[in-house]
C-alpha cells in the first residue's frame, strides 16, 4: 500500500519483526541500520513491539533490509518455504529467482539440481501463495509447497511426477522414431503418413520443449528448450513442406532429436533424485510413532506430538523418536548418522539421547526435551537442505556464460544456415546443419555443473558429521594458508584434570575432602582424581576458601590446606626445596601446581592441567601436511598456551586473547593469507565470523545457533582435515563439470556446423544424442562425490 507519513515521506511501508532487541540503544542501532539501506526513506524501530516500520521506494531490494539488520547483530523474524518448480531448466534459475523476489521476500534461491525454490519471506507482507502466483504469472509451474522442512519428499515427489510425465511422452516417441528412421532406408511409409507420425512426436512428445521455449520467450530469455524447439520445429516444418510438395523430407531428424533429448532428461531426472539421497536418508531416520508413558502403561502417539517432559520408551532395535535425556535403563545407541563414528555410544541415565539414532542394545526410558520439527535431527536436515540450495562462487562464470550462451548458439545456427546456403548447398542440407548446431549446444551442463556438486558434497559431508552451512566454505577452505585453533575445549578437553601427583595417598584423600565443598574446576579435578583412585572423600568439618591462594579446611580433626606458595606461607608450612623446584618445572609446562599441607606440613604436590585431546596432535599434523600453518589463539595465559603450542610443534601462538582479540588476530592473519578458524561455536563467534572459513567444533545440539560456516557435530578435530578433503573433491568435481561443459560445447558446435564436412559431421539426431549424454555425464560425475 502507498502511504504518507507525516507530510514528507512518500513510498511503500513495511513492517519487520525484529529479534533480539532488548534495550533502547538496540532499537536505535536497528533504525540506523535500516536507514543505511538504499531506498529506505524513513525507519523507526520500536522496542515495545519489537517491530521496525519503514517507508521505502518501491525499488528497494528487500533482502538488503535483512542483511542490514543482521550486520548489526539482530535478526528479522521470517518464515521459509520450499516451492517446487517442475520443468524449470537450470538456465532459468535467474528468471525464477527474479519472479519470486516480491516485496516482502528476503531471499529466493533456486537450485537447478533439485528444482526447488527456497524462499525466505516476511510473513507480515507476503505468503507462499503470493510467490506461487508470481511464478505462475511468469509462466512457471509452481508445484508442491512445503513448509515443514523435515518433509524432504517434496523434491522427490516433484521429480517422480516429472519422470512419469517424461516417460509417458517418451513411450510413443520411441516406436514412431524407429519407424521413421527405418523408412529413411526403405521408403515403405508414404510421406503423408510420415508427416502425421512426426507431428505426434513434435507436438505431443515434444510439447514440453515448445511450452518451455514459449515461457522463456515471454520472460525475455532463451534456454535449452528454445534451442530444441527451434531446431526440431525448423526441420519439421521444412520436411512438412517437402512432403507436401514432393521434395525430400527428413522427419526422422526432428523425431529422433526429441526422443533422444527426452530420454536424456528422463535419465537425468532419475539420477538427480539420487543426489539428494543423503538428506532424505537423514530425514527418514525419525520414527513416526513414539510410545509415551501414561499412568501405568504406554500409549503410542505421533512422535511430533510428544511434549517436553514426557517419558518415551525405546526398545532394542528401535530408533529414538525424540531428543531427551535417559531417565532409566542402559544401552548403546548408534549415532553414526550424526558423528560418522561407527562405534555405538553408551547410554546411561543422564545421557543425552538424540532423535533418529538407533538403539542397538538395551532399553531406555527417555525424558523428552524436544520433538518433531525441533529435534537436532530436524535442525540438521533443515541446515543441510538450505546449504544444498546454494551455488559455488565459481558457478558465477558459468551462469554469466549460460546467460548469453543460448543467444550465441542461435546466432551461430543462423550463420551456419547462411554460410551453407551461400556456398550453394540445398536449403534442406543447410537447415540440417543449422538444426544440428541448435540441438548439440548444451547450456544445461553449464548450469548444472556446480549445483550438483554442492548438493552431493553437502550431503556427503553431513554423513560424515560435518554440517556445511555455507557451501562457499568448500572453495575458501582450499585457498586458506592458516588454520587458527582455539585452545581450551578445541585442542584440549576443556576442563582440567590431575596429570601428576607427588606425595602420599592419605594426604591426597585429605586434600580431596577439603576441596569437596568447592566448585572451582581445579577442585573438581582433584576430587575426581581421588575418587578414581578409590579414595574415600569425606565432607570437611569446616571449610574456607582464599581466592588466589587455595582452600583451608578441617577434615577428620586435622587441618588441611590445598593451594599455592602463598597459602603454604600463610599456614606456616614450609615447602621443601625439591618440591618447589618440581612445582616450578610443572608450571613452565603450562600446568597448575598446588601443594597439600596436613597439620602444617607439606605432604603432597598435585599438577593439574587441561589435557590435549587425544586427536589434537594427529589433526594438527594432518593439516600441516595439507599445507596449512597451524596457529593457536587462546584466552588462557601465555604460559599455558605456549606449552600447548610447544607440544604440538606450533610456533605461532597468541595467549591472553579475549574473543574480540581473537577476531583481531584472524583479521591480521588474513592480510597474509586465507584463514580457517576452528573454535567453539558460541564463545568464538566473532573470530569464526572474521575468518574466511569458520569451523565450529560444537558439543551442543543447537547447531543452527552456532556461528561458523561449518559445524563439526560433537567435537572431533580430525573432521577439520576431512572437511578439507571433501572440499578438494567438491571443488575438483565442480571444476571438471565446468570444464567438461565448456569443452564439450566448444568442440561439438563447430562439428555440428559442418566445418569439417564431409570428413566429420553430426546429423541432428546424433547431435541430440550427444547433448543428452553430455548432461548425463555431468550428473554422473557429481554422483561420484557420494563416495568422496
Amino acid at each position: 500500500m502507498d502511504i504518507r507519513v507525516g507530510v514528507k515521506v512518500e513510498g511503500r511501508e513495511t513492517v519487520l519483526k525484529i529479534l533480539g532487541m532488548h534495550c533502547a540503544t538496540c532499537s536505535l542501532t536497528v533504525q540506523r541500520a535500516l536507514l543505511s539501506v538504499r531506498g529506505v526513506r524513513w525507519a523507526e524501530a520500536s522496542l515495545a513491539s519489537n517491530e521496525a516500520r519503514l517507508v521505502a521506494s518501491p525499488e528497494l531490494d528487500y533482502g538488503e533490509l535483512l542483511k542490514a539488520v543482521r550486520r548489526v547483530g539482530y535478526d528479522v523474524y521470517r518464515e521459509a518455504v520450499y516451492i517446487s518448480v517442475p520443468g524449470a531448466r537450470p538456465e532459468d534459475a535467474a528468471a525464477v529467482e527474479r519472479a519470486a523476489r516480491l516485496w516482502g521476500v528476503f531471499r529466493a534461491s533456486f537450485s537447478p539440481a533439485t528444482s526447488l525454490l527456497y524462499v525466505e519471506y516476511n510473513p507480515l507482507e507476503v505468503g507462499p501463495r503470493d510467490v506461487a502466483e508470481a511464478l505462475t504469472r511468469a509462466g512457471f509451474k509452481a508445484g508442491e509447497v512445503s513448509r515443514s522442512e523435515v518433509d524432504v519428499d517434496v523434491d522427490r515427489k516433484a521429480a517422480e511426477r516429472d519422470a512419469r510425465d517424461l516417460a509417458s511422452r517418451l513411450l510413443p516417441a520411441v516406436p514412431i522414431t524407429a519407424v521413421l528412421m527405418a523408412s529413411m532406408m526403405f521408403p515403405a511409409v508414404p510421406p503423408l503418413a510420415q508427416l502425421l507420425m512426426a507431428s505426434a512426436v513434435q507436438f505431443y512428445s515434444g510439447w514440453r520443449f515448445l511450452s518451455g521455449a514459449y515461457r522463456a520467450f515471454r520472460n525475455g530469455t532463451a534456454n535449452m528448450d528454445t534451442l530444441v524447439a527451434l531446431g526440431t520445429l525448423s526441420t519439421f516444418t521444412y520436411s512438412a513442406y517437402a512432403a507436401l510438395t514432393g521434395g525430400r523430407a527428413f522427419f526422422e531428424a526432428s523425431a529422433a532429436v526429441i526422443t533422444f533429448v527426452l530420454a536424456g532428461r528422463y535419465m537425468e531426472s532419475r539420477m538427480k533424485l539420487k543426489t539428494g539421497d543423503a538428506v532424505r536418508k537423514l530425514a527418514q531416520m525419525a520414527p513416526p510413532r513414539a510410545r509415551v508413558k501414561t499412568g501405568e502403561g504406554f500409549t503410542e502417539v505421533d512422535s511430533a506430538q510428544v511434549e517436553p517432559g514426557q517419558l518415551v520408551e525405546v526398545r532394542e532395535g528401535e530408533r529414538i523418536p525424540v531428543d531427551g535425556y535417559v531417565e532409566e535403563g542402559m544401552g548403546y545407541a548408534d549415532e553414526s548418522a550424526f558423528t560418522g563414528e561407527p562405534m555405538p555410544a553408551e547410554k546411561k541415565p543422564g545421557d543425552l539421547a538424540l532423535a533418529g539414532t538407533l538403539l542397538v542394545r538395551g532399553r531406555l526410558l527417555v525424558r523428552a526435551t524436544r520433538s518433531g520439527a525441533h529435534t537436532y535431527l530436524a535442525e540438521v536436515v533443515r541446515l543441510v537442505r538450505q546449504a544444498q540450495n546454494a551455488r559455488l562462487p565459481i558457478q558465477r562464470l558459468a551462469d554469466r556464460v549460460a546467460g548469453v550462451f543460448t543467444w550465441a548458439v542461435m546466432a551461430a545456427a543462423a550463420a551456419t544456415f547462411a554460410a551453407w546456403a551461400l556456398r550453394g548447398a540445398p536449403p534442406g542440407q543447410a537447415l540440417l546443419f543449422a538444426a544440428s548446431v541448435l540441438v548439440v549446444a548444451c547450456p544445461c551442463a553449464l548450469g548444472l555443473a556446480t549445483p550438483l556438486a554442492v548438493v552431493v558434497g553437502v550431503g556427503r559431508a553431513a554423513e560424515k558429521g560435518l554440517l556445511v552451512k555455507n557451501p562457499e566454505a568448500f572453495e575458501k577452505a582450499l585457498r586458506a594458508r592458516f588454520a587458527v585453533f582455539d585452545k581450551t575445549g578445541t585442542l584440549t578437553k576443556g576442563f582440567p584434570r590431575v596429570v601428576k601427583y607427588v606425595g602420599d595417598v592419605e594426604a591426597l584423600a585429605y586434600a580431596a575432602s577439603a576441596e569437596s565443598k568447592s566448585t572451582h574446576p581445579l577442585a573438581r579435578a582433584l576430587v575426581d582424581y581421588a575418587s578414581e583412585l578409590g579414595l574415600a572423600v569425606q565432607p570437611p568439618e569446616s571449610y574456607d576458601s582464599f581466592p588466589g591462594m587455595g582452600v583451608y579446611a578441617t577434615v577428620g580433626g586435622r587441618s588441611v590446606g590445598v593451594g599455592n606458595e602463598r597459602l603454604m606461607e600463610a599456614l606456616g608450612a614450609e615447602v621443601p626445596q625439591g618440591m618447589r623446584e618440581l612445582a616450578e618445572g610443572l608450571r613452565s609446562e603450562g600446568l597448575s601446581a598446588v601443594y597439600v599441607a596436613v597439620d602444617g606440613k607439606v605432604r603432597g604436590l598435585a599438577a593439574l592441567g587441561d589435557e590435549l585431546r587425544p586427536d589434537a596432535a594427529s589433526a594438527v599434523q594432518r593439516l600441516r601436511s595439507m599445507g596449512l600453518e597451524p596457529v593457536v589463539a587462546s584466552g588462557d595465559n601465555e604460559r599455558a598456551v605456549a606449552a600447548v603450542a610447544a607440544k604440538l610443534g606450533i610456533s605461532r601462538y597468541f595467549g591472553g586473547a579475549e574473543p574480540e582479540r581473537k577476531a583481531e588476530i584472524v583479521r591480521r592473519l588474513r592480510e597474509e593469507g586465507g584463514v580457517i578458524f576452528v573454535g567453539d561455536g558460541v564463545n568464538d563467534a566473532p573470530a569464526l565470523a572474521a575468518a574466511d572459513v569458520g569451523i565450529a567444533v560444537g558439543n551442543g545440539t543447537e547447531v543452527a545457533k552456532e556461528a561458523g560456516d561449518v559445524v563439526v557435530a560433537r567435537g572431533d578435530l580430525s573432521k577439520v582435515a576431512e572437511f578439507l578433503q571433501i572440499s578438494r573433491r567438491v571443488e575438483a568435481n565442480a571444476r571438471f563439470n565446468l570444464l567438461w561443459a565448456f569443452a564439450y560445447n566448444i568442440a561439438l558446435i563447430p562439428i555440428a556446423a559442418g566445418l569439417f564436412y564431409p570428413a566429420l559431421s553430426l546429423r541432428p539426431e546424433l547431435a541430440g544424442l550427444a547433448m543428452s549424454l553430455s548432461s548425463i555425464t555431468v550428473t554422473l560425475n557429481a554422483l561420484r562425490l557420494k563416495r568422496a
Binding site: D544, F546, G561, L567, A570, L571, G572
Partner: protein
C-alpha cells in the same frame, strides 16, 4: 565485635589459623601488622 565464621566474607590465614573480619579495612589492617594484633587482641575500627 563478633563475626559468624560461616558467613564472614573477610578472612585471612596466618600461621595456620583463620581470622575472620567484619570489613575489608579490618582485614587489611590485620594483614599489615598481624603480630601486633595477635599480641594486643582485637581493637576498634581502624581509621584511615
Amino acid at each position: 565485635m563478633e563475626v559468624d565464621p560461616a558467613k564472614a566474607k573477610y578472612k585471612t590465614l596466618y600461621r595456620g589459623k583463620v581470622y575472620y573480619f567484619c570489613s575489608s579495612m579490618c582485614k587489611e589492617e590485620f594483614e599489615r601488622r598481624p603480630e601486633y594484633y595477635l599480641q594486643h587482641g582485637p581493637q576498634g575500627m581502624p581509621h584511615r
